[in-house]
């Protein structure tokens, strides 16, 4: 980190704050400190908390797709597994501390992810994508068909118990947000350590040249399965946040193929193989429909009903994805980096 913070210029060595550690510090202070003081319930419930859950899911998928190079269209299936596991564990093991509940739910999602990761040992690219699609449909079908998972609720929709950690009730909008933020901070830190570790390098090696990775002794099969397990664990935890911190209900329809694509888009728009990318992508995906709705109302007034909104969302999002894939495959992260470098360059010339 220290050599990042030092920047050599023509005039000699100049100490400059690197954007990474400084920016993260500021961001954390703002994220923990500001919303509880100023945000409305609407801001928490409609924007901030779902943003955190989706960013976490994006982070999980990014390990698998961005770092390890394995395409998956089944992300929301693993969110569902996490959510249902946490619900059932809480229901059937009363008194289980919630943090332990989350951990176990993540492990259940990891186990299911491992199972559906097995085809990756033989398939790649398009064929692997199709096999993860099978996970998506199968998991959704199971939760629809087997009433036990939703405690035989006739509607299939179940309400989760109110959030509380170590006796501290966190059921307010701000409480649920802060809880989600805590989980996301902890998981992101662990993921950062992972991608910087030799195992993280092995994931990228696998993505960039599988044969060379095998020849130098990287245990390719083990690393691939690890990528599926870790990714599914994180996406499972994101599912728990989605159900317990955001919606406060669980139903299979909330974890459909649309959601899987949404998470994939987050990763593509944000930037593959970048931790920031998941957050940037999730921010865009959450804020963008709201902006579009405001804009549509302002321009078209009453003509802009919910049907038109949904359609225009899909069209604009589709165009956005295509634009990114063609013009900036490295996503918002790369755009931001370039902008940052330009600003720094200007300052340096001025100073």
């Amino acid at each position: 980190m220290t050599d990042l913070a030092l920047e050599k210029t023509a005039t000699g060595t100049v100490r400059r704050l690197s954007p990474a550690p400084f920016g993260i510090g500021v961001l954390l202070i703002v994220a923990y400190g500001v919303p509880p003081l100023v945000a409305s319930e609407y801001l928490f419930d409609a924007i901030l908390t779902p943003f955190l859950a989706l960013a976490l899911a994006g982070l999980g998928l990014n390990i698998l797709t961005g770092y390890a190079g394995q395409v998956s269209l089944g992300s929301s299936a693993f969110m569902a597994v996490g959510a249902y596991a946490a619900y059932n564990l809480a229901l059937r093991l009363p008194g289980l501390p919630f943090l332990l509940d989350i951990l176990l739910a993540g492990l259940v999602a990891a186990a299911v992810g491992l199972l559906f990761g097995l085809p990756s040992l033989r398939l790649r690219g398009f064929y692997l994508a199709v096999s993860t699609l099978a996970a998506q449909f199968f998991v959704q079908w199971v939760f629809n068909k087997v009433g036990w998972f939703s405690n035989d609720s006739p509607s299939g929709i179940v309400t989760v118990p109110p959030l509380s950690v170590a006796g501290l009730p966190l059921d307010s909008s701000a409480g649920r947000y802060l809880f989600a933020l805590g989980v996301v901070t902890a998981v992101t830190l662990a993921v950062w350590r992972l991608v910087e570790s030799p195992t993280g390098r092995a994931l990228v090696a696998l993505r960039d040249h599988e044969t060379a990775a095998r020849v130098i002794g990287i245990p390719v099969l083990r690393v691939k399965l690890l990528a599926f397990a870790v990714s599914s664990f994180i996406i499972g935890v994101a599912g728990v946040l989605w159900a317990f911190a955001y919606l406060r209900t669980v139903e299979p329809a909330g974890f459909n193929l649309d959601r899987s694509f949404q998470i994939l888009f987050i990763v593509i728009i944000g930037g593959l193989a970048s931790l920031r990318g998941a957050f940037l992508g999730a921010a865009l995906i959450v804020v963008f429909p709201l902006l579009l709705a405001r804009l549509g109302e302002a321009l078209l007034g009453g003509l802009f009903d919910s049907g038109v909104l949904e359609m225009s969302q899909r069209i604009v999002l589709g165009l956005l994805i295509i634009t990114f894939l063609i013009a900036e495959p490295a996503g918002l992260t790369a755009l931001l980096d370039r902008a940052w470098n330009r600003i720094c360059g200007r300052f340096r010339r001025a100073g």
Binding site: A190, R193, L194, S197, P198, T199, R201, A202, V204, A205, R207, D208, H209, T211, A212, A213, R214, V215, I216, G217, I218, P219, V220, L226, V230, A273
Partner: protein, 279 residues
């Protein structure tokens, strides 16, 4: 299947020294195409052995069989005292064998240092949790790998590009990084598939020096596929010549230079050679 055939000992390359690599009656075909047909030869420890031959002769196929990427239809490969019908690629590094590829095979998204350090992957023992938490053992083995990688960067004059993503480097430099990644584990046997293809004359001269140093200073036995006949003659102790999957000659550079069969099949008119031209 015959009952018990007495296992032959490792075929000696010369005298009584066991060879670093030997192949015995290797055959391999793809559909109707014969890539290798009944190939046998041995490489002595410390030797630089070139493998030459026209395009499609089976040179890369031979290295792929030796590194276990292809499974031969018949025959055996001897590596470090073990004999294999199919070499286990996963254990290749542990057996002390490294290789480079004819086409660039770097990890484009990783830095040069990480690419080279990855060449020590087979030595890592710490589990993923130990790495994430940063337990002392995990930190130590990583620091060791990085220190060894830095040594190799210095050896191949790659310090300047240490932190650059490998994919952004010029072709010749990427080839050198791949050599560093193969050498970092101090292999007993190094297999190089056209390491100089597409390089300039100066780059070729530099790389020849590095390859010789890998043998002299690091003690590696080297099997080298190369088309530039001038380089091959200057660098190698012995040369094996393949043509249509058959081994048509195997000898010292002088033997090969004057072998009428080789001249016919590959080298062409003799005076081309004296001009030192690449073919």
């Amino acid at each position: 299947m015959p009952a018990v055939l007495s296992e032959p000992v490792v075929p000696p390359a010369n005298g009584n020294v066991p060879s670093a690599l030997a192949v015995e009656a290797l055959s391999l075909s793809f559909g109707g195409v014969t890539a290798l047909s009944d190939i046998s030869f041995a490489v002595a420890p410390g030797e630089i052995r070139a493998v030459i031959g026209p395009n499609g002769a089976g040179k890369s196929s031979l290295l792929n069989v030796v590194s276990g990427l292809y499974r031969p239809d018949s025959g055996r490969v001897w590596l470090g005292g073990h004999s294999f019908a199919a070499v286990p690629t996963d254990r290749l590094a542990t057996l002390g064998v490294s290789r480079t590829f004819q086409n660039l095979a770097l990890f484009k998204g990783l830095s040069v240092l990480d690419n080279v350090a990855a060449g020590l992957s087979h030595r890592l023992r710490a589990g993923v949790l130990a790495q994430v938490i940063g337990l002392p053992a995990a930190r130590r083995e990583r620091a060791e790998a990085q220190a060894k990688a830095e040594e190799l960067l210095a050896f191949l004059h790659l310090d300047d590009v240490r932190d650059r993503p490998a994919g952004t480097l010029p072709y010749g430099t990427q080839k050198r990084v791949e050599l560093a990644r193969a050498l970092v584990s101090r292999p007993r046997l190094l297999l190089l598939d056209e390491p100089m293809a597409g390089m300039t004359l100066t780059e070729k001269r530099d790389l020849s020096g590095h390859i010789r140093a890998a043998r002299d200073d690091l003690g590696a036995t080297i099997v080298l596929i190369e088309h530039d006949i001038g380089v091959v003659m200057g660098l190698s102790d012995r040369i094996a010549v393949l043509d249509y999957g058959r081994l048509i000659a195997d000898g010292t550079p002088d033997d090969i230079r004057n072998d009428p069969v080789v001249i016919d099949a590959y080298l062409g008119v003799a005076h081309d050679l004296e001009a030192g031209e690449g073919i």
